[in-house]
């Protein structure tokens, strides 16, 4: 993964969005506003979500 690439994977069979930060931290969200807000807040909140 590129150094500044943020990824969001819509988990098949669910309504969940998995956010994957460029630092490797992951976060499971229920909507796209929530997941992008978390990704863009790096590093805030990332340790707790790991």
């Amino acid at each position: 993964m590129a150094g500044t690439t943020l990824r969001v994977v819509w988990t098949p069979g669910t309504d969940d969005l998995l956010g994957i930060c460029h630092c490797g931290a992951e976060y499971l969200a229920g909507d796209p506003i929530d997941v992008w807000s978390w990704l863009l807040a790096h590093p805030d909140g990332h340790e707790a979500a790991r």
Partner: protein, 370 residues
Amino acid sequence: MSPGTEFPRNQWYVAAYGSEITGELLARTICGEPLVFWRDSSGRAVALADRCVHRRFPLSQSNRVGDTIVCGYHGFSYDASGTCVAVPGQKRIPRTARVRAYPVVEQDSLVWIWIGDAEPSAAGTIPRAPWFAAAGWTTVRGMEPLAARHSLLLDNLMDLSHETYLHGGYIGTPEVADTPISTEADSDAGIVRVSRRMADAACPPFYAESTGLSGRITRWQDIEYHPPCLYLLHSRIAPAGVLPPGNGPDNQAFHVEVGYALTPETAHSAHDFWLVARDFALEDDGVSRFLAESNRTVVLQDVACLNTLEEILQRDGAAYQELSINIDTGGLAARRMIRRQIENAPAPGTTVPEGAAPGREPLAGAPVTA
């Protein structure tokens, strides 16, 4: 928040197809700036402000004489650099007698123009789409005027689940809306990628007619958006279960490269350039006609939808809380990159950092709003 009417300046935008620029004068407004285009005697595409400095008469309604334009009102004459080289009745040409000339780059059959007051970023930062002009591909294309803001077209293209509902019978099947997507926002490259890969899907008429496939298909839609202007959709169609081989060419599949250039005309209108390139049936004019007619129909369905939305947005005003769901993940990422381009616009006269991609942005940023 509704899709905004702003668009970034100090960016490269597609202004025309190369085939549109001839010895004749072509008028086109890009990002609110009225321009006149033509191709000079050396074959170079030229873009000038479409207003005579004297009394604002449109140069596009004037006369080309050699490599100059002679204003059709009083005869002020401009060369390809925008310099006034003759005025009527006197020898002294006022020092301020010039019109703005715009940087132009022609590549991949597209004519790009730099819109902004900063020095243009290097031509090498303009995204490429070589298949639209390369051997081994056949391309059909068109352009439809859109009476809607740039951001509405962006929303439309970044979420292809609408194909199922708006474009049924052409490119939409139930599997498009039912298949989850993965999204990447690549800040280094300035690209948003959205991937939807359908393992076992119905074959829509657009692909059944053009490829001859009749059964279920494996259908991949890989979007690559280069803000603010170029949208590429890498489409792979194959019989269900046929995946690319580990080695060698992917010759059991059909590849279609769909492109859109989203160019603002004004705050409330846009030029919707569309291209469809294929790597099969290269010499088959029937396939070309079918794909051109089908894609134009699809684009006109989008145009009708977005024109309606523009009317509603203008009528209803901004007091409206938009709702976004999973299918909007890519569109929200694209909006954010556009917002950063607007916020990070360089000051007039400054130079965009060498090597900077048009969409490059700092990683940290304001949260996405919807």
